[in-house]
Symmetry: C2
Subunit: 351 residues, 2 copies
C-alpha cells in the first residue's frame, strides 16, 4: 500500500443495476419507464440555443424550480433540485443528519441509504420490516436523529397511506423526516399534502421513473423554505452549478407536459394490473404494488434460477442476493409487448 | 430555531460569480469562453436519440472517458469525470484528504478549497503567496495531509513551470498532490507530463473554460489508476449516475474537435496579449497571465470604483472584496469586440 492510501475514505460502493449494452434486450431491471420522454422534451432540446452552453448555467435553476413549483402548487422557495434524486437524497443526508442519535430506516429499502450514512459517518439503525414487508411503525417512535421512509418502498413495492405517514410524523416532530417518493406517481397519494402541517417533512421525487428521464438526471425535494435553504447552502458549498443548461430546459418542458405524463402513468398502471393476474396464474406472489415494478417470488422455483434463465433470453430483471429477499425478483413494468415476452417465456419455462 | 435545525450542517456557502440575465451586456466576470462550443457539439446534440433519455445513462461514462483518454494518450483507467471540475475537486477532497494533518493550499487561490475543507471537516493551512502572488515553495515542505495547487493560479493568473510542480511533488511523496489546471490550455504546460513519475499526482481539468462548455458541466481528473479507482468508489457511494446522456454525447464530440479547440485557444491568447498592452498604456499592471483572464490593478483609481463604473455600463468584471486583492479586478478575455468596448470605456473614464 502506498503511504497516501492510508488517508483514502473507506467506502463500500453501491453497485448500480446492470446497464447491459445489447442491441436486442428486454430491460426490466432498473425500473425505467418504457415510454420515451414527452415530445415537448425533444422539441425543447432541438430548439435550444447551443451558444448558451458557453456560459455557466443559472445556479438557482430558476426555470426548472418554477416549473416544478407551479405543477405542485407550492412556492419556488419550497423546491430544491439535484442531479437525480440520489443527489437530492445524498445532499439531504449530509445537510440534515448531524445528530449523534442514529437515523432510522427499514432493513429492506432503497439500498443507498446505508451507503450515504457510511460515507458521511451518520449513525443509523435499520429496524426489520415484518414478514409481509410492512414497516412496524412503533420502531420509529424511539428517539432518533432523523427518519427516512421510501413510499412506496423499494424493492418491495409496498405502499403505506397518508395516515401511516402522518403517524410517523406525529411521533417524530424534532427531526427531519424524509419521504422518498420515487414511485408515487403510479397510484399512491403523495405526502406533499402534509407539507402545510409539518415543517420538518421533506418529500423527494424524481424524473427517472414516471417522467421517462432517467438519462437526464433530475430529482427534486419539496419542503418548508427553511429546509430548502439549508439544502441549497450545502449544495452551494459543494458545487454551485450542478444542473446543466440542457437539463434545465428539458426538465421544464417535461414538467409542463402534464397530459403526456398522465397517459404514460396510466398505461403503466394498466399493464401492471394485468401482469399481476398473469403472474399469479403462473404461481407467483407479490405485495400489491403501487409502483412500476413487481416484487415477485415463485411458489416452487427459486428466484435465482429464474433470474439466470431470463438472463439467457436477454430478459433482464433485478435479483438481490441479500438476506430475506434472495428469493424475490424485482420486475419492472415495461411495455405490453415486453411483458408479453416475459410471460410467454415464464409459461414455457415453468410449464 | 426549530429543534431539527440543531442538526443542520453548518456551512458558509460559496458565492458564485454573478450570472446577470440582461439581454445586452458584456460578461467578463466568470472566465467563460466568448466563443461557442465546437460545431460538432451542436451536431451531436441535434442527432442524439432522445428515446435514450428514458434509460439511466452509462454509470461508467465510457464514451466520454475514452474520448478524454485518447486525447491525452492515457489509459481509460486513468480518467475520472464529474459534473464540472467542482464536482471532481470536491469528490477528490472527500476521497483523499482523510489525514489528521492539514492539507496545504495558498491563501489566495480558487475560493472553493476552504469551503470544501470546511464542509468535509478537513484541517487546512493556507500559507501566504509572496508580494508578487507567487507561491513560496518552502511552505509546502512541511508534513501535511495533501497539497492543492491551482496552476495557473486563480484569480491571480500566475503560472508556475513544471520544474516548480516537480519540486512540490518531490517534497510531498506521501500524500496526494492535486494540480488544478482549469486554465492550462491558454499557454501553460500541463503536469500531465509528470504522471508517469508520480503516482500521487492528480491533474484536474475542465470543459468550462477552453472548451466553451461551462453550461454543460464537465470536469475530469487524470492520474494513476489507484487514485481514479478510489475516486470512482466514493462517487458510486454518493451518486452512481452523475453524467447525463446529453453530457456524455456532447462531451465526447467536444473532446474530439481538436482543431476548433486549438483555434479558440489561440484567438483568446492573441486577444489577451494585445489587451495586456492596451491596459498597460492605461496605467494598469498585472501578473503576466497565462490564462483567459487578467488580474489587474490601476496605479491611481481603486478597483472597486472601476468595478462599479463598468457595471453601470453593463460591463461585468469580477471584484473580490478580500484582504490583499481588494484593489484588483479579474477581467475575463472576451471577443475582440468585447475587449474593444471595455478599453474604450476605460479610456474615457480614466482620461
Amino acid at each position: 500500500m502506498k503511504p497516501w492510501e492510508a488517508y483514502f475514505r473507506k467506502v463500500e460502493p453501491y453497485v448500480p443495476g446492470e446497464q447491459p449494452k445489447l442491441s436486442k434486450m428486454i430491460k426490466l431491471n432498473t425500473n425505467e419507464n418504457p415510454y420515451p420522454p414527452a415530445p415537448q422534451v425533444d422539441e425543447a432540446i432541438k430548439n435550444m440555443d447551443i451558444q448558451k452552453l458557453k456560459m455557466y448555467p443559472d445556479p438557482t435553476s430558476e426555470i426548472l424550480v418554477k416549473a416544478i413549483a407551479k405543477n405542485y402548487g407550492v412556492k419556488d422557495e419550497q423546491v430544491f433540485v439535484g442531479v437525480g434524486s440520489d443527489d437530492v437524497l445524498g445532499m439531504a443526508f449530509l445537510t440534515f443528519f448531524g445528530s449523534e442519535k442514529p437515523i432510522v430506516f427499514p432493513d429492506i429499502t432503497y439500498s443507498f441509504y446505508d451507503v450515504w450514512a457510511e460515507l458521511f459517518q451518520i449513525p443509523y439503525v435499520t429496524p426489520a420490516l415484518n414478514e409481509n414487508f410492512r414497516i412496524k411503525k412503533e420502531d420509529y417512535y424511539t428517539p432518533n436523529g432523523g427518519v427516512v421512509i421510501t413510499n412506496p418502498n423499494a424493492p418491495t413495492s409496498v405502499y403505506e397511506n397518508l395516515d401511516f405517514i402522518r403517524d410517523i410524523l406525529d411521533h417524530n416532530q424534532d427531526v427531519v423526516v424524509i419521504v422518498d417518493e420515487a414511485y408515487i406517481d403510479f397510484g399512491g397519494e403523495s405526502a406533499l399534502k402534509l407539507l402545510d402541517e409539518y415543517e420538518n417533512l421533506l418529500v423527494v421525487q424524481t424524473y427517472s421513473k414516471s417522467r421517462s428521464m432517467a438519462g437526464m438526471r433530475i430529482g427534486y425535494a419539496i419542503g418548508h423554505p427553511t429546509l430548502i435553504k439549508a439544502l441549497n447552502d450545502v449544495k452551494y458549498s459543494y458545487n454551485s452549478y450542478t444542473m446543466d443548461y440542457v437539463t434545465l430546459v428539458s426538465g421544464k418542458a417535461s414538467m409542463e407536459a402534464t397530459e403526456y405524463f398522465k397517459e404514460c402513468c396510466e398505461k403503466i398502471v394498466a399493464t401492471r394490473e394485468r401482469v399481476k393476474k398473469e403472474l399469479t396464474e403462473l404461481g407467483f406472489s407479490f405485495p400489491d404494488s403501487k409502483t412500476n415494478f413487481l416484487f415477485a417470488t415463485h411458489k416452487t422455483v427459486p428466484a435465482k434460477e429464474l433470474f439466470e434463465a431470463l438472463r439467457k433470453e436477454n430478459i433482464f430483471v433485478r435479483y438481490f442476493n441479500k438476506p430475506r429477499i434472495d428469493n424475490y425478483l424485482r420486475i419492472t413494468i415495461g411495455t405490453d409487448e415486453e411483458m408479453d415476452a416475459l410471460i410467454e417465456f415464464l409459461k414455457k419455462y415453468l410449464g
